[in-house]
Symmetry: C2
Subunit: 202 residues, 2 copies
């Protein structure tokens, strides 16, 4: 039996605390929050636009801090082998300074679908599809997905996280527009809560 390689757990928090900052324990990134854009559903605040946000990543456990956004990096759920290899080859690495955190929640209807029904929304179609759209931007936009739905106390299903250089800001806007276009990506119809948190890595 090989030793367990634990998943990485991530908290985005305004209060990094002392415990989580022990060197070698947490991987810490600091951001200035530039502005917040509610996209779908009510946004009850909690992140002021003039504040900082910290990302704390730990192996195997959550940082012991109060955090409005928590997630875990997981295995791929809709990506096939060929796409996974291709994405590994072409995907952008974290670049900064632009960083956008977009927490997302999907409807109960989505979660009641069977695997083949959900998978169909991701596979490439003549008009797009989530994976085909995302892949077009993989080389310019660094993307990371955190799963939140099955973390106790989470209000979100996913934290989607993006990083890009300032000259790729246009490409990022185009990516968001396509992903939210019901013709190109009908999957987005199941999103019932979403907010954009625009930040700068500092």
């Amino acid at each position: 039996v090989s030793p367990r390689t634990p998943p990485t757990f991530t908290s985005f928090t305004q209060s990094p605390g002392d415990l989580a900052l022990t060197p070698g324990d947490a991987d810490v990134t600091c951001y200035r929050v530039d502005h917040v854009v509610p996209v779908r559903g009510a946004w009850q605040g909690g992140v002021a636009v003039d504040r900082s946000l910290w990302r704390l990543e730990l192996a195997g456990r959550l940082a012991p801090v109060e955090a409005p956004f928590i997630g875990a990096t997981g295995h791929v759920v809709y990506t096939d082998s060929a796409t996974k290899s291709e994405l590994g080859r072409v995907s952008a690495t974290p670049s900064g300074p632009r960083a956008v955190l977009i927490p997302i929640r999907k409807s109960a209807e989505w979660w009641a679908l069977a695997q083949d029904q959900r998978q169909a929304y991701f596979d490439p179609s003549s008009s797009g599809g989530h994976i085909a759209i995302g892949n077009r931007f993989a080389a310019k936009i660094y993307r990371r997905l955190y799963h939140s739905r099955y973390l106790p106390g989470s209000d979100w299903d996913f934290l989607t996280y993006f990083e890009f250089t300032s000259n790729n800001a246009g490409a990022f806007s185009e990516l968001l527009t396509l992903l939210r276009d019901p013709h190109h990506n009908p999957e987005w119809g199941f999103v019932d809560r979403e907010v954009e948190i625009w930040m700068t890595r500092v």
Copy 2:
């Protein structure tokens, strides 16, 4: 935006505590532990054969108790629409008095596979396949799957849970034999830690 229906979180514990037993808060089931059978990997104990085990189920949060086994009931990941409907129609309901908890961990190799590669191990094949084998026993054996891999602090990937009447004990043994047969279910080759906890509902 509809109100969130939170996942159910489950702890199997020897110490149910006071907090978790507030009526209407947790759904509590009590078991006598009959015997423990290590199947794969080291089993460092923690559940004595002469002890009780409690299952505490809460919506949206884990019971605030020390628990060696924690999990969340989730959406289906490998089941297609037709199979999901069929299982809903034929599946056994919890019957007792026999109950078996089988925590499972899979190798890093498994978790690195793409979705299509993992899916292939579940789909029916000429020699069996996980889903085809399981479906044959769905009417006799109550099955419930808890996901554990992405819960902070968990040592397991899944808690598989079964209930059946005493006269279906033979069918349950047959189910385990087929699922662990590399010819009928090659997926089991990725299991690197597994233990059977045989119990009686009391």
